[in-house]
């Protein structure tokens, strides 16, 4: 690997990292502001314009606070857990392409942390890793409420990971019919969603070629699963404040608590970004090359990506302001008896339909 290539890799990683940090700061503020608006409150309004710097102020405060370590903790695991939460959260987003690749001289710069050809598998693996953080935090705290939170987290993650994976499989199989071969690379999946459905039928030429239209059921299942996967309302049993005080992070304070908090919001954004990539065409969209100056049409895909992602992030906030929390047994029932069968059924239906389209009816 030559020096320019190394520099490009470094740039990609640093730029993705910076984007993620910036949007997380904004997300925390946006959630507080949006939910406040829905509840006819004001929300943060003091730090910076419209309180936008509130997250930064809170982060600084937590950074300088004492991190209390309770006497009964299992020290190693207790210290490790926050990192186990944050690192997978960052790594997941590294797979997501957040803009159109551009050329510098002879080198192509992809706006993506890393383009693995097994991107989707990596995402599943990392989101499964993130559960360890919650489980270990709960178990190692040596306290009862975190323990209950940790136990809940294990069950919840196992149940909803399956539904999430199954709905992804349906998309992957569908995407395989859109190009030469099947792919698990997110960059490739995005590129196959460019254009419109005009080639299927001229009536559909106004519809962008997004996976959500043929795979609407998979999209709904995926949405439900990622809300559960990120432990957000109405599936936020892991940190149900009214029952478990703080859930798994009850015994954490200062920067260690902030890391869990950061991981939660990074996960919301990266899961939304994955949903936008898999179903809403990622950064794909009209760039008006030729009409607009080069740098604007180069920037437009990133803007499309952010708009699509924030549309899904908004749903997260909306749910939180609207729905009551499910109970533990209801969560399990919903996961195993509704969501996973639905995901399996959709996988079969979608695959059979694709088979018919590709190869014709078996009797003909």
């Amino acid at each position: 690997m030559s020096w320019p290539e190394l520099a490009i890799v470094a740039f990609r990683v640093v730029a993705t990292f910076a984007l993620l940090l910036a949007v997380t700061l904004i997300n925390v503020w946006a959630e507080r502001k949006i939910v406040a608006d829905m509840q006819s409150r004001i929300g943060p309004s003091r730090a910076g314009p419209w309180g936008m710097l509130q997250t930064l102020a809170d982060g600084l405060k937590l950074f300088f606070k004492e991190s209390v370590i309770p006497r009964k903790v299992e020290l190693g695991m207790y210290l490790l857990a926050p990192f186990l939460a944050v690192i997978p959260a960052f790594l997941i987003f590294m797979m997501v392409p957040w803009g159109k690749p551009f050329m510098i001289g002879d080198y192509e710069v992809a706006l993506q942390g890393a383009d693995l050809n097994i991107g989707l598998l990596f995402i599943l693996a990392m989101s499964a890793m993130a559960v360890y953080a919650v489980v270990l935090a709960g178990w190692s705290s040596g306290s009862k409420y975190p323990l209950l939170g940790g136990v809940r987290a294990t069950a919840q993650a196992i149940s909803y990971e399956a539904a999430m994976g199954l709905s992804m499989v349906a998309v992957v199989i569908f995407t395989a019919t859109q190009g030469e071969a099947g792919t698990l690379s997110l960059a490739e999946i995005v590129e196959r969603q460019a254009g419109t459905w005009g080639d299927v039928s001229p009536v559909l030429s106004f519809l962008p070629r997004w996976n959500i239209f043929p795979q609407i059921a998979a999209f709904i299942i995926f949405m439900i699963a990622i809300v559960a996967e990120t432990n957000r309302a109405p599936f936020d049993l892991v940190e149900a404040e009214q029952e478990l005080v703080g859930g798994f992070h009850t015994e954490y304070s200062g920067m260690r608590f902030a890391m869990f908090f950061l991981a939660e919001y990074i996960n919301i954004f990266s899961m939304s970004a994955i949903a936008a990539t898999l179903f809403l065409g990622g950064w794909a969209g009209p760039t008006f090359e030729g009409f607009l100056p080069g740098f604007i049409s180069g920037l437009l895909p990133t803007i499309y990506f952010l708009i699509k992602t924030y549309a899904i992030v908004f749903i997260f906030f909306w749910l939180r302001a609207t729905l009551p929390r499910l109970r533990y047994d209801q969560l399990m029932t919903f996961g195993w008896k509704r969501l996973i069968p639905a995901a399996l059924a959709w996988l079969v239906v979608s695959t059979v339909a694709i088979g018919f389209r590709q190869f014709g009816a078996p009797w003909s």
Binding site: Q39, K144, L148, P234, A240, Q242, P324, L326, R327, Q330
Partner: protein, 451 residues
């Protein structure tokens, strides 16, 4: 409790048979002083929630170390103040629980003996701080019963107006906290938002948002402010619109239904055995309301229904509260229409202070004023018990006077205290998440419990 045992236990034992908490003490029958039989004691223990009678509670295949005792409270986000619950958990299932109170004990009943009858409302208004008017009303009615006086019709109408508005504001808090404990965060803000409009009216009338000290023996302190009709009418219009929206949000919300239906069930027999009153009793299907049974302040002249439901679960308590708010608004509307003219307190200057202007003109008025505020008025010896229907149930005031200017003994029958006893029965064998729903639906106010 399992369903089987519940049916056998239709006959509820007289609670007088119950003994004290000390183990060596034998529970005895009150009249005959006879020692209760083993069987009776067993049933009593079940009735009291000391023993949770259940098929799989004492399963042998559940190892001792799979049980966990969790202290919920006194500092916990959803124990409504400083209630402490000791919960025996098996996984997430509650096998036994025990409410522990006393963390907010302020000795208000004892304080009442040091205060004159005129100062008394300042004290009782701080007990149930979500329904201060009801506390004041119970106390004032008790004093008036001992004095054997009747308040003017306008005073009675103002009392009904204020207490019924207070019932709405208190139920709004109950709804808000109930919503929040189940995770419907917006419901909390909405409930408090609507309560604010009522509190604004209270502030305009009494000068304070809480702890009003407004209803006093002999009437009320001041007349309603000018323009009160417009204020109350605006509140009525606003609240009626909002209540419909609450129903939109929660009444048929599937998550809300699954979290509240069949949770924290209290059967009518249990409710009566535990002396539960208020919405919790009516949700269990017992049609009992002090306003109908022992009407006070002329509340029998207004038309209203007592909503009841059958199942006695969290959902029914929530529905009963909503229905009661509609009924209270109905009463408030009628009071607005018929509000009599006249004095807002009795003219007897031995009991109520003279108007400020009279003090400058009349020597007697000055003397009355001085005497009232230095030693208070004397109340003939006797004892009485007067109860009003507070938002939480029967709020009674037992008052003994020995002829002095302050009570010999004041005791409050606090509904929250009695309602809290039922928690072990209501929560047995439910999930951890149901505890908070059940506690919130009983709507305890710890100031009321500990006094």
């Amino acid at each position: 409790m399992g369903d089987g045992t519940k049916k056998e236990q239709t006959e509820i034992l007289d609670l007088w048979v119950a003994g004290s908490e000390e183990p060596e003490f034998q529970p005895t029958d009150e009249g005959a002083q006879e020692i209760a039989s083993e069987e009776t004691r067993g049933r009593l223990d079940t009735q009291f929630g000391r023993v949770v009678d259940d098929d799989y509670l004492f399963d042998d295949d559940v190892a001792e170390d799979e049980r966990m005792i969790v202290n919920m409270g006194p500092q916990h986000p959803s124990t409504h103040g400083v209630l402490r619950l000791q919960i025996e958990l098996e996984g997430e299932i509650i096998r036994r629980s025990k409410p522990i109170i006393g963390y907010l004990h302020t000795g208000m009943e004892k304080t009442a003996e040091q205060l004159t009858f005129g100062q008394g409302p300042t004290n009782v208004t701080r007990m149930d701080y979500l329904a201060p008017f009801h506390g004041e009303l119970a106390y004032s009615l008790a004093v008036e019963t001992l004095l054997d006086i009747d308040v003017p019709p306008r005073a009675a109408a103002i009392r009904v107006l204020m207490t019924e508005l207070n019932r709405v504001s208190s139920h709004l808090v109950a709804l808000a906290t109930n919503g929040m404990d189940i995770g419907a965060l917006s419901m909390m803000i909405y409930g408090f938002r609507e309560r604010e409009s009522i509190l604004a009216f209270f502030e305009k009338t009494t000068g304070l948002r809480m702890n009003h000290n407004y209803i006093r023996p002999g009437g009320v302190v001041v007349d309603l402010p000018p323009g009160w009709k417009d204020d109350v009418a605006a509140i009525l219009v606003d609240l009626r619109q909002r209540f419909v929206k609450y129903d939109d949000m929660l009444k048929e919300n599937p998550i809300w239904l699954s979290r509240t239906k069949g949770v924290g069930i209290i059967s009518p027999e249990e409710a009566i055995a535990f002396s539960i009153t208020g919405p919790a009793l009516r949700a269990a299907g017992v049609d009992w309301d002090i306003r109908k049974a022992f009407p006070y302040s002329g509340i029998e002249n207004y038309e209203f229904d007592v909503p009841t439901r059958e199942n006695g679960d969290v959902y029914d308590r929530y529905r009963v509260r909503i229905d009661e708010m509609w009924e209270s608004l109905k009463i408030v509307e009628q009071v607005m229409d018929v509000m009599p003219k006249g004095d807002f307190r009795v003219g007897d200057r031995k009991i109520t202070p003279p108007p400020r202007a009279r003090i400058d003109e009349s020597m007697e008025a000055l003397i009355h004023h001085f005497k009232l505020f230095t030693e208070g008025f004397k109340v003939p010896p006797g004892e009485t018990y007067v109860a009003v229907e507070s938002p939480r149930g029967e709020l009674g005031c037992y008052l003994v006077s020995d002829g002095e200017a302050n009570p010999y003994r004041m005791h409050t029958r606090a509904p929250s205290f009695y309602n809290l006893q039922s928690l072990p029965i209501a929560m047995a064998d439910s999930l951890m998440a149901d505890t908070v729903a059940t506690i919130a639906s009983m709507d305890p106010v710890m100031g009321d419990v500990d006094r």
